[in-house]
Subunit: 444 residues, 2 copies
């Protein structure tokens, strides 16, 4: 089958084009993008050409722009061009020339696509590019997601030439006498990629001459395998990850028994900012004391008695937190509350306001932890009379901000502890107390 | 952590050793197997040494055997040795020296393991070996199963050194002054592997110095990903593959809609002898006429109306085959029966004995297809009197073998067609027939 038919077949197989689509082609003037343009034109696709002049190669940059302009005229295609001051951008943003070129390019291409009503943007990545990408990922270390390589489609971005080998592209250009330009610097291609292209892959091809198409076929299989992998991961997540308001929790026992544990833990915690390097620490939490935690870029993962709790580091609306008898740790904005139940016998009552010991018999589970509100009252320890919290705070000379950050613990609609300040007298430990609830407030 | 502790940790993590196990170590005398031996000894593992002398390298082979004997004495370990006439074996079996060495080695090692009551056989494959294997698989073309590399355990065979880099192994030997021998020919290592070891991987390491451990870590992840992949595949197979006696069937409509189709089709049909090259033909069957088939090394995959039928090419006991009204194709030993229902109006009745037209109103579905048996009778077309099949066959002068291969079609306990020979008179087409069942017998 000739390249044009294979091109059409690939578009249809990967659902890259349906009649009515308008495709904006990113054309540098190099052989890949030129051939992509000719193929699209011949396939009768409604398309236009976008060309970026990075002004990094003096006369050569101008030559490329002139060439692409002529190509657009010849094929009667709409043309969009831009000139970037890439060097200034790179200096100002303190990024490499490569990163600068990439950022400028994709931002402008996407803008142009939207402005002129194109449904997709097409780049001319081909089979070799894809194989290089996957080999590089594998060499750097990757999971299964690093094996799907360059995808035929990502939202509006399509790669209609991924099916083609470089040799097919060159052969078509030669057979039809299609002109193109050569980039003497290959400035937008990374050093490592060039190294894999010119040093690694040719060495592999010496033993396996068909290595590139064979690897490309493998990549297609990996892409399908990944779909099935994701299906299984989603099923496991349903039994391993539970949402509770703004927080999430993972049952420790189930995760301990989950197979394969590393991968499932990764798939769960990576969505909460966990890095590969942090994963072992998170897994270690399963063997930890309640109260230990790992902080990711976005979340805290905290060991509770039977759960790993996942809370956002973002400021949240103050929630209403339900505390069961089994709860060991309650992470909230501003600190962590730790709970344990102990026999009262011979225990000494701590004097720190950060600790509280309450008579279990006076409590009714579940307890609630919440912000204080107007109208709240309690019987401050040592007093026979009830007192409004608002009044109590005035006595304690709390600032507005301090008041805003106060948490209270509630049992059966009664405030039993103004956390970090004073307990309710009716809940205090007495000679008759059997068991006590020991509470510790750890402000951050 | 030093190598001994990492060794112990790896044994425990991969469940390669539990107290009570006895491990037979395959020791060539090279540094890998020598270090494996020292580590096992130091870890207090009950082990013995097995050494194969392939007699391929003259004095060097003897030197290796002597060295391993001395090592066993030094460490007070049981020793088992053997000398193979590898060249004669290779000539006689017409295999390469490499294949000969491999076959002789594994057969004898497994025999020795069983004879002397070892629970496992250990080989000294290390991290580099594993990375080479996966890179080679990827270059040749593979699916996800080609990415798990050398497994830490396959039944009785374990690889306790897979966690270690070659440099770790050499460093331990140097630090402790452990002696070992060097194989000047590396005869048992394939050319391609040597090429990847000495040419490909070093080139990759120039850009990614940590490529080997990074790839090894990736391989561990692929191994876990494969477990999840297999889980999803099994779940799909349950809805895509049905057993029916000795045969299997795959619903065409469901397979057409299955995602990812290629991979799921592969996972289903590979177990029935389908090669990767045949898979596209099998997938094409979904668009084919009923009756088309693909023959694999072990099975026929046949397009029926709503199913792909999978039947073994092995000789089977003659079965009883249920034919529903919807059935289009019945593949059996000796041939294929095709069925269609047609209006009788204006149809010409074929005269070939391989075809039969029966009045639908005289039939009762499901029909049965089975071998004839003693006691069967029917009303041969054109006769008013019933006749025993045994008698009919004598009249037709059938041989014993021919009789053995006769199939009959049965409706409501009556034989309606001796397939390929004569229909029952009571089922023939008459001027009153509305619809007819058109049957075609295609002997192989």
């Amino acid at each position: 089958m000739d390249l044009l038919n294979r091109f059409k077949e690939y578009l249809s197989k990967e659902k890259l084009y349906t009649p009515g689509d308008k495709i904006l082609l990113a054309v540098s003037g190099g052989v890949d993008s030129v051939i992509m343009t000719h193929l699209c034109k011949q396939a009768g696709i409604d398309c236009g050409i976008a060309h970026c002049n990075f002004q990094l190669r003096g006369a050569e940059s101008t030559r490329d722009e002139t060439f692409v302009t002529a190509l657009a005229n010849e094929l009667a295609l709409p043309l969009y061009t831009i000139r970037f001051d890439t060097e200034t951008y790179a200096t100002e943003k303190r990024v490499s020339i490569q990163v600068a070129a990439r950022e400028l390019r994709y931002a402008w291409l996407e803008e142009t696509r939207q402005q002129h009503g194109y449904t997709c943007l097409a780049t001319a990545h081909h089979m070799q590019d894809n194989v290089e990408t996957v080999l590089m990922n594998f060499s750097k270390g990757t999971g299964i997601a690093g094996l799907h390589g360059i995808l035929p489609r990502q939202q509006h971005l399509i790669r209609p030439l991924l099916f083609a080998q470089k040799s097919d592209i060159l052969a078509l250009a030669a057979a039809n006498g299609y002109g193109y330009v050569e980039d003497s610097s290959n400035i937008t291609v990374k050093y490592t990629r060039n190294y894999f292209r010119h040093k690694v892959i040719p060495v592999i091809q010496e033993t396996y001459p068909a290595a590139v198409p064979q690897m490309a076929a493998s990549i297609d299989r990996f892409r399908e395998a990944e779909l099935l992998y994701n299906e299984a991961v989603q099923r496991h997540k349903k039994r391993l990850l539970f949402q509770q308001g703004d927080n999430y929790r993972v049952p420790v026992l189930k995760l301990q028994k989950a197979v394969p544990q590393q991968t499932l833990a990764w798939e769960i915690f990576k969505d909460f900012g966990c890095s590969p390097a942090q994963l072992p620490q998170v897994i270690d939490l399963m063997q930890s004391e309640p109260g230990k935690w790992v902080e990711t870029t976005s979340h805290r993962i905290i060991r509770d008695r039977v759960w790993l709790l996942i809370t956002s580091l973002e400021v949240q609306e103050a929630p209403l937190i339900v505390i069961e008898k089994e709860t060991a740790v309650v992470p909230v904005k501003g600190g962590t509350l730790k709970l344990k139940i102990r026999p009262a016998d011979g225990a000494t009552i701590p004097t720190s306001p950060l600790m509280a010991c309450l008579d279990m018999d006076t409590l009714q589970f579940p307890l609630l932890m919440r912000r204080w509100k107007q109208g709240d009252y309690f019987y401050p320890l040592g007093m026979r009379k009830k007192k409004k919290l608002s009044r109590f705070f005035i006595d304690q000379k709390l600032s507005l901000i301090q008041k805003e950050n106060i948490w209270v613990l509630e049992s059966a609609k009664r405030v039993v502890w103004i956390i970090g300040m004073r307990i309710d007298d009716r809940c205090k430990i007495t000679p008759n107390t059997n068991h006590m609830l020991v509470l510790e407030w750890q402000p951050i």
